[in-house]
């Protein structure tokens, strides 16, 4: 007798309601019960009676349990759930231990994360332009006859244009002229100083992708006297009003222009070597007669070209000498060499003259990358160390579980789950730490980073893979070690813990301490070197010196006067004690020339000299010492390059044996005779990173009055008064020029800015490394003391004091740290020597500076270990011994 469909449906539904949820099982049971019911109905029962009878045996055993039993074989979810449950319980059971473990790991991850973001940012420069990899900048190396060369980021105006006509592989080009001084921009009655102003070819916004918000890429800079402004510049001049079609006035060194605003572009991203605020059409600039006249004389223009896909920049470079010979008129003996520089390399790999902004330091970036990787490795090593240190604790658990039938694979799965859970928690904590510390760290480290442009899929994907691999790799070792215990050995209480494991742990701690001691020595050496450089006597006095940038619009009525009227008025009014005009000031580049020789000789014509124009008050303003000869006298010495005062280094370089011998001697520059009238002491024109170069001072002419230096009165209260007096004198003498000033001591010190940044970052990471290493040491100490608990008990019973036991345990670890110290010293020594080699004036690192970090680390380590050992040493021996 066959059952009807409706009856089958009923059975199926009923079973489901009774808890048989697992489909495969239900199908089996439905068929089974149907057969049973059919048989019973043939024996004359009704459907309902037959059904109830048929499910009787199942009801006894419980249908939901049956379902559970059937699924547990098939469904690993239950097992996973159990792993996770156990994991949570284990973490909660050992809160302090898990806390230390997670904290150590997350600190390492966070540090790595932060550095990677910075490194990624530094590496991402100028990559936001599509085709950025096929864009090149043409640089210019001027080789003078003496052999000295002057490699600039800029070249002559017509280079790119001619090159495009000549070489088909050049797809497009754009040129720009960057105003290296601030310009003054006015709109209606508002007047602002504007930085980052450049003149650019009409296709600038097509060539580079700065993103025009208003205006058309093709037309925006087409006409003469048009300008595109950045969003923030627009905000500055026009508030919220629409700037298109408005007229603004630009006055810079050479030009005074009225410009019509035709476009607005987005504020350039931080990771761009070129961050324009105002782009003026090149046609407003290049049509001036002197620009045309000097197009092959003035190498001041950035020339960018885009190559066709697949063409080789090296091949193009090889054709340049011929190209230069063809187009560049040979006016002097100098040879111009052109090179191609990839756009993406400019920020990290270029350090030429006339760069738009100080570029990044590839060495520093890769050093930091190394530190990041090292930090992460230390953190993982530490994690492995701490995890396996708990093996004794867990050996019994493993023994019992194995005795109860756990397989090794199951245990490995369990430990892996725990390890991955800890890793994930550490990662989450690391993200929180990064968010918390990033702003702080970058502010403290003095690094400004524009985070709107970092990241990208590659970065996050790569980072994800790194952390995942780290998690798995660092979890595997503890998982295999912990699951390898033999139940019988463990449960008998005779765990022969793995000797090689102990050795590995010691090695890890040794590695961590070697790293952190080296880092500390290096951090101290860096600090000491920088302090040394900042505190060395400079050979001049730069305290209380106020420097005002020279006027852009020079007033014709002031020219040819023996003393600048502004200086004269400032000193006369008493606001300043001394004042001087010069073409450069300490800390700022001077010109360099070669071909200076003793008259009648040709020897040493390749040597180069710094040259600087100064007035006759220069020496008293800077408090330099005249060693021999006399100062300039405005009535006798005209501004021509015919008399010079030289420094001691120049005396040596020119081959004079003493300053006295040099005075009144004659030298020559390209055959033109020059008289040496005086010798001054060597002073540090640049930071102590550089050696003191031979220097020639000549009487300054009107054209090179770049800086006005004033020695202000010393007392603090007077400074403000002096400053406002000086400013009012400036307004009187140079009314059309902004009053821009700085204090020489702080601007001179700013030369060490990058070094100070480096020092801070380095110190922060060496402290972090020490901290993480101490966590590792704590793990090792707790492991070893736990292992030796019984030994300690017996020692105490036999009369040992707590002190003796602590000393015994400490001596073991102290040895480890001393070994680490011995390994670290040569490493640190080589590193420090290598780093110091970039400085002309090196600090002697005292021998004790190498020992001090070891002592500090030893001290911290002893405290760390004592926490654990004293606890164990104080335990009553009865407690540890009574069970044996």
């Amino acid at each position: 007798m066959k059952l009807k469909d409706s009856q089958i449906d009923f059975i199926e539904q009923d079973l489901q309601e009774r808890g048989i949820l697992f489909n495969d099982l239900r199908e089996d049971l439905v068929d089974h019960i149907c057969c049973e019911v059919e048989q019973k109905m043939e024996e004359g029962m009704t459907f309902m009676d037959a059904y109830l009878k048929a499910i009787q045996p199942f009801k006894k055993e419980g249908l939901p349990e049956l379902n559970e039993e059937a699924t547990s074989f098939l469904n690993s979810i239950t097992m996973v759930r159990s792993y996770i449950n156990l994991t949570i319980r284990n973490i909660l059971k050992h809160k302090v231990f898990s806390g230390i473990n997670i904290l150590g790991l997350s600190l390492g991850m966070a540090a790595c994360f932060i550095i990677l973001q910075y490194v990624n940012y530094e590496l991402s420069f100028d990559q936001f332009h599509p085709n950025s990899s096929s864009i090149f900048r043409i640089t210019n190396n001027t080789v003078r006859q003496g052999g000295t060369s002057f490699h600039t980021a800029t070249t002559f105006l017509p280079v790119a244009e001619r090159a495009k006509d000549e070489f088909p592989e050049i797809e497009d080009y754009t040129r720009l002229y960057f105003l290296d001084r601030h310009a003054v921009v006015s709109y209606e009655d508002r007047k602002f100083e504007q930085e980052a102003v450049l003149y650019a070819d009409a296709n600038f916004f097509q060539f580079f992708s700065y993103g025009l918000i208003k205006g058309n890429e093709e037309e925006v800079l087409q006409a003469a006297n048009t300008v595109a402004l950045s969003e923030s510049a627009v905000l500055k001049y026009f508030d919220d009003h629409d700037p298109i079609g408005k007229l603004i006035n630009l006055s810079e060194e050479f030009n005074d222009l009225t410009l019509m605003v035709t476009g607005v572009f987005k504020d350039p991203p931080g990771n761009s070597h070129l961050k324009p605020q105002m782009v003026v059409s090149m046609s407003s600039y290049e049509n001036q007669p002197d620009v045309k006249e000097n197009e092959w004389n003035w190498p001041f223009y950035m020339n960018y070209i885009r190559l066709q896909r697949g063409s080789n920049p090296n091949d193009l470079e090889k054709k340049f000498p011929e190209f230069v010979a063809k187009y560049s008129p040979q006016r002097d003996e100098s040879i111009h060499e052109l090179y191609l520089q990839p756009l993406e390399d400019i920020h990290l790999h270029s350090n030429l003259e006339y760069e738009i902004e100080p570029n990044g330091n590839a060495k520093l970036v890769f050093l930091l990358l190394g530190v990041a990787i090292l930090t992460l490795v230390i953190a993982y090593a530490n994690y492995i160390n701490l995890s396996t240190a708990r093996s004794l604790d867990r050996a019994k658990e493993v023994g019992i579980r194995k005795a109860l039938g756990s397989k090794r694979l199951g245990l490995i799965k369990q430990f892996l789950t725990e390890a991955i859970a800890v890793n994930i928690m550490a990662l989450l904590l690391a993200i929180v730490l990064v968010k918390m510390f990033m702003l702080f760290l970058f502010r403290y480290g003095g690094i400004t980073i524009d985070l709107t442009h970092y990241g990208g899929f590659m970065f996050w994907g790569g980072l994800g893979i790194v952390f995942l691999m780290g998690a798995v790799l660092s979890s595997l070792y503890p998982a295999f070690v912990l699951s390898s215990f033999q139940p019988i050995a463990v449960l008998r209480g005779k765990l022969n813990y793995n000797l090689s494991g102990h050795f590995l742990r010691k090695l890890l701690v040794l590695f961590q301490f070697t790293t952190s001691i080296s880092l500390m020595i290096a951090a101290y050496a860096i600090y000491s070197q920088i302090q040394f450089m900042r505190n060395q006597p400079l050979g001049m006095d730069i305290q209380n010196l106020l420097v005002v940038k020279g006027p852009r619009v020079n007033n014709i009525e002031h020219s040819g006067m023996p003393q600048d009227p502004f200086i004269l008025k400032s000193t006369e009014s008493g606001a300043a004690i001394h004042g001087s005009v010069s073409s450069s000031v300490p800390g700022i580049w001077t010109s360099r020339i070669s071909n200076i020789v003793r008259q009648g000789s040709d020897e040493g014509k390749n040597n180069s000299f710094n040259v600087m124009g100064v007035d006759h008050h220069f020496m008293e303003t800077y408090q330099l010492n005249l060693l021999a000869g006399r100062n300039f006298q405005p009535s006798i010495d005209t501004s021509a390059f015919s008399v010079v005062i030289i420094n001691e280094s120049a005396v040596g370089q020119l081959g004079f044996s003493s300053p006295e011998e040099a005075v009144n001697a004659r030298i020559a520059f390209r055959g033109r005779p020059i008289d040496i009238i005086g010798v001054i002491n060597d002073y540090h024109h640049y930071s102590l990173k550089a050696a003191i170069d031979p220097l020639l001072l000549y009487p300054i002419g009107d054209g090179s009055k770049e800086y006005y230096t004033l020695r202000t009165r010393q007392s603090v209260g007077q400074l403000e008064q002096s400053l406002s007096d000086i400013e009012s004198q400036w307004r009187l003498v140079y009314p059309d020029n902004p009053f821009e000033y700085f204090f020489l001591d702080s601007s001179f010190d700013a030369q060490y800015k990058a070094d100070l940044q480096f020092e801070r970052i380095f110190t922060a990471f060496s402290l972090l490394a020490v901290f993480i290493a101490c966590l590792g040491l704590y793990g090792l100490a707790s492991f070893v003391t736990m292992k030796r608990t019984k030994e300690i008990g017996i020692r105490k019973v036999l009369g040992s004091s707590v002190k003796a036991i602590v000393v015994l345990l400490l001596s073991d670890f102290s040895k480890l740290i001393l070994i680490a110290g011995l390994v670290a010293i040569p490493i640190a020594y080589v590193g420090v020597e290598n780093w110091q080699s970039q400085f002309a004036f090196k600090d002697q690192i005292a021998w004790w500076m190498y020992l001090l970090p070891i002592a500090i680390v030893l001290f911290i380590a002893i405290i760390t270990i004592s926490i654990e050992t004293i606890k164990v040493a104080l335990i009553n021996p009865v407690k540890v011994l009574k069970y044996d």
Binding site: D5, E27, D31, F58, K60, E69, F73
Partner: protein, 90 residues
């Protein structure tokens, strides 16, 4: 054979001495299927789905091994128990 058939077969072959409890039969079958000892074939009979279970190659080997193991066990038991019994009679 399908589930019901197996239980009936065991019942018949042992004259009702061994009754396979349905509560154990199906979980065991599913476990064996999971381990690859038996394979399942579904046959639709009207609204019902009937699963036929048959031994796979590994299943046959395993069965052979288990039977031998069981025979050895019986043999051991016999050697263990019979001398005692005979000793008791003597």
């Amino acid at each position: 054979m399908y589930g019901y058939e197996i239980s009936q077969k065991v019942k018949e072959a042992t004259d009702g001495e061994i009754l396979l409890p349905e509560g154990s039969l199906y979980p065991i079958l599913h476990k064996m299927a999971e381990e690859g000892l038996v394979k399942m074939e579904k046959v639709h009979i009207g609204k019902r789905v009937r699963r036929y279970y048959s031994l796979t190659k590994t299943g046959t080997n395993q069965a052979q091994f288990k039977i031998e193991e069981f025979e050895r066990f019986i043999g051991t038991m016999r050697r263990l128990l019979l001398p005692k019994l005979s000793g008791g009679e003597a």
